[in-house]
Symmetry: none
Amino acid sequence: MNRRILLAELAQETPSRIVFLVMDGLGGAPGPDGKTELEAARIPNLDALAVRSQLGLTDPVSPGITPGSGPSHLALFGYDPLEFQVGRGVLEALGIDFPLKTTDVAMRANFCIVDQNGILADRRAGRLETAQAARLCRMLRDIRLVGAEVMVEPVKEHRFVVVFRGDGLAAEVADTDPQKTGVPPIDPKPLNAEAERTAHLAGEFIRQSRAILEGQPANMVLLRGFSKYPSIPSLPELYKLRPAAIAIYPMYRGLARLVGMDVLAGGNSLEDQLRTLRSHWDKYTFFYLHVKDPDRTGEDGDFPGKVRAIEEVDRHLPALLDLGPQVIVVTGDHSTPAVLKGHSWHPVPFLLNSPWCVPDGLPFSERACGQGSLGRFPAVDVMGLAMAHALKLNKYGA
Amino acid sequence: MNRRILLAELAQETPSRIVFLVMDGLGGAPGPDGKTELEAARIPNLDALAVRSQLGLTDPVSPGITPGSGPSHLALFGYDPLEFQVGRGVLEALGIDFPLKTTDVAMRANFCIVDQNGILADRRAGRLETAQAARLCRMLRDIRLVGAEVMVEPVKEHRFVVVFRGDGLAAEVADTDPQKTGVPPIDPKPLNAEAERTAHLAGEFIRQSRAILEGQPANMVLLRGFSKYPSIPSLPELYKLRPAAIAIYPMYRGLARLVGMDVLAGGNSLEDQLRTLRSHWDKYTFFYLHVKDPDRTGEDGDFPGKVRAIEEVDRHLPALLDLGPQVIVVTGDHSTPAVLKGHSWHPVPFLLNSPWCVPDGLPFSERACGQGSLGRFPAVDVMGLAMAHALKLNKYGA
């Protein structure tokens, strides 16, 4: 019996509330003065909470693995990220709030440049400007396929999303991106018999794209990550929770919707997010509050910016605690050290507070969490711990 | 290869002795003054031992899971508690020292009350007094079934045990307890073809019970947890140990017997238990010494009582150490914080002493164990660690 099924068998509905305060990319690494972003930040409220909480470090996937936002969030919500996978096409569609149907096939697409012999010269068309790419996307909307509707949506720079909608489509089609220049793009190949028609439609989409894009700053497209909306048992089904998400960025709203959360509307500042939380407090038993800035600044290599982003969360923490959640978890989905300018494999600082915890008496930082009594553990265990502390799990066995 | 099989392959018999001192429900949570029961207890002997030992925290099943005594003990003895499961009927029978045969089917039964339409009015017959229930059990011994012997034994209040003995019985029968009143009890349903006859016998048992109980303070029975004595490879087979159990409560004696331990007779005080240990010291290489009081007092919400129960163990520790075991493990099967009045998911304090350990220099408490060098680990790994420190495991690979 796997752990998710075990939890589902033991879960009971109670009115107690769990809040996951997820600072995207929270974990860091030492900057020039030897401190991590979290260590450099002045966070009196988080430190005070940490002192009366239990700390640990989580591995989103497993030690040494740098996760994307999809796997790292799935783990936090209790889904083994190696068992449940969200395809790149679907993730890209979620990221622009695209209303995917379960029968759609979504692809992540790049505008690119091929030479007169059809050889790939630039896989990203010089990182085409977003406005330019949007114009090309509008042109591609003239494409007509037999037996499937086509939707084309710009994302950012050279990246866009293609969705085929229709009956009997399958996602088992190989990428057309050869991942290098000097060779031609690969024709879309079906990976099984059911996907033959979809691969054929993709081939036709590429042919028509090339004709439409003739003479444009990008004259060809690459298709990757053919995928369908995955079937994931929802948090209400699994854990008898009434879950809500308060997230500003579309991809996180999409991931939350994927696991059965209600996605709450509201303003974009942290203050707005807390106002949304407060006004929905009575309706839900689980809140996922997503804060993007620590990751955004980390990705930019902006160490002081990430420090400030963490400090801003600290300033709003008292308003959250005032609501009196039975269980509050403060953590990240993964680490994004500014010195690495990107996601990393570093284990993620984790804090859990409840009336039943045995406080570690430590402040909140990577190093303090490394000393915490929760030890180092897989992020997929977070949901079970939180459910336990909210007294939402029955006993296993007599 | 799973870990149990690996250990079995590497195990060698040696005269070194391992003692597991298991304080049932040892782990706690902070009481009113912020200390846990273990922290509040004056335990100079345990602290002195801890200082020269290695500490850690164990998860009996997995983080967040509150285990019953069955799964938590199986884990301590090295059996994955999700792989090996002891049915409720069998556990209840073990708990009254009932001599189950491997072909028997045991059920946990309740006396209950149904109205004139057969609708369940009280699932526990007002928690019938034990003496009354014993009288009704004696009446039910008149039941005769074709092809199986029936045994009926009282447990406590409305609870009793029913055992069918005969050839070709199967345990795959669904509970008859609907878990709520206002509906009739469920007829016993076979869950596979082999269990059809057993389900039929259960139906006949219920029919005759109802006729016999007409006009009594309980007029019906509910049957749950149909189960057979599980087939578990024994500790002597697996680990080449000669294991003995010194436990007062029947369920723990039963669990010990289940994994192939000799269950030693003796008096009921801790002093008696240590006398039993001493007098059998030469005959065995593994001793499981079970102390119930920390759990009993924790279940009662009796914080000072649990503190005293731990202190009592501390007073007897020197007598145990005087025997000179090569390896001594002091831990619990699970946590039972007095503030929660029941088993909990809290990881369990764990201490291991041997001539080969690298001492942590810490006292014995939940928080000290959270700092221990053994970290937080699954209880199923305890047996391997103890075997290693007793030099009872050969090298793996060349």
